[in-house]
Amino acid sequence: MNPAAAQPSEAAAAATVAEAAERVDLGELLADSHVGEVLDELGELIGLAPIKARIRDIAALLLVERARKRLGLSGGSPSLHMSFTGNPGTGKTTVALRMAQILHRLGYVRKGHLVAVTRDDLVGQYIGHTAPKTKEILKKAMGGVLFIDEAYYLYRPENERDYGQEAIEILLQVMENQRDDLVVILAGYGDRMDAFFRSNPGLSSRIAHHLDFPDYLPQELGEIAQRMLQGMQYRLSASGEAALRDYIPLRMRQPYFANARSIRNALDRARLRQANRLFAMHGRPLSRDELMTIEGEDLLASRVFA
């Protein structure tokens, strides 16, 4: 054998080994993190297509970031503070809860719990009360997700001595410093959040992801109703289904319509009426089927049909 000829092939073999060590299997990383399960659960939520797409993007980014880290490439951990805007009952809190799990599985936050707060939990009652109060909440939220519901109440432009501004400043500081151990999600109704961000540009620019929750379509609300009933171990009769189909568009036109929350309330009232109806049939034992079924009349008695 010619030793000179053997050398290049050895070098090539060494290069392939080195290259193999330089490769990361994203599929394997995905399976390791179990984030797929949470994404699947998220897929079970009805509607919310743009939200799901964005969360998938974020999950992919974090996964790729993880792969890069494994090969020693560091791009700094991405900022993941978010704002959730949308009408009442569009699933902001539900998604926030899932978000905490996803971020935890991807190793972005250490514990993955959700601390849900409102203005009262952050803002104090007298001078010097706000800072310790806000800091205490932040400490509790570290390692997880801080979900500030109706965040616009933090800022009251009509009162310049309002302590809310102080809470916002502390939040800003922490959002900047603790990038790798706390994710802040600000949630609220769309138009008021826009006004809030306009008056606090510093806050808006520190939030990388603005997610807008769309209203549900009547058909999606129907599916949500079915899902809720399933969860409560009820079902609709054929007349019940027809009544629900008529009910949803009517309810949507009513004032104070709150998407899924209104549907839940409507179902709760239907359960009340069903119980009443069953009670009125006294004297006769009830079957399992009767106890489970919501009839059309239970829904048709609603005031939206009046």
């Binding site: 250490r110 205490e136 400490k139 509790k140 939220a141 570290m142 390692g143 997880g144 151990d181 706390l182």
Partner: protein
């Protein structure tokens, strides 16, 4: 004289990462974390100043670590310790306590001998650090 007390008294001083890990352990046990400091090193001094309130319901050590670092920055030349309090019925006491900061120079103690009647001697420990200097003006 290097003063030791508490759970890891036999070890060299813990690094920040080790302190973080110990706090993480304590939180995992469901204990509450408190930070205390003092400039009176006498072993019988059990009343240390509290740095803020004890921290209940924390999930991650980052928040408590934040307080430790803040206390260290505000009082760099004092003794600082971390206490972990267990509220379980039957315990209701500190389960873990360790020093996380000490003054750069620790002058140690003077052993005072007080002669009594009949050749009896009473002993007293007095820290050189506290001798003559009121609280807040020691270890300068």
């Amino acid at each position: 004289m290097r003063i030791t007390q508490g759970t890891f008294s036999f070890l060299p001083d813990l690094s920040d990462a080790e302190i973080h890990a110990q706090i993480e352990y304590a939180l995992g046990q469901g204990w509450a974390i408190g930070v205390e400091y003092t400039d009176d090193p006498h072993p019988r001094n059990c009343y240390w100043e509290m740095w803020g309130n004890p921290m209940f319901d924390l999930r991650s050590a980052t928040g408590a670590m934040h307080e430790v670092l803040a206390c260290r920055e505000a009082h760099p030349r004092t003794y600082i310790r971390v206490n972990a309090f267990d509220s379980t019925r039957g315990f209701e006491t500190t389960r873990l306590s360790f020093i996380v900061n000490r003054p750069a120079e620790e002058p140690g103690f003077l052993l005072k001998r007080h002669e009594l009647d009949g050749r009896r001697i009473q002993y007293t420990l007095e820290s050189y650090a506290t001798a003559g200097a009121p609280e807040g003006r020691r270890y300068r």
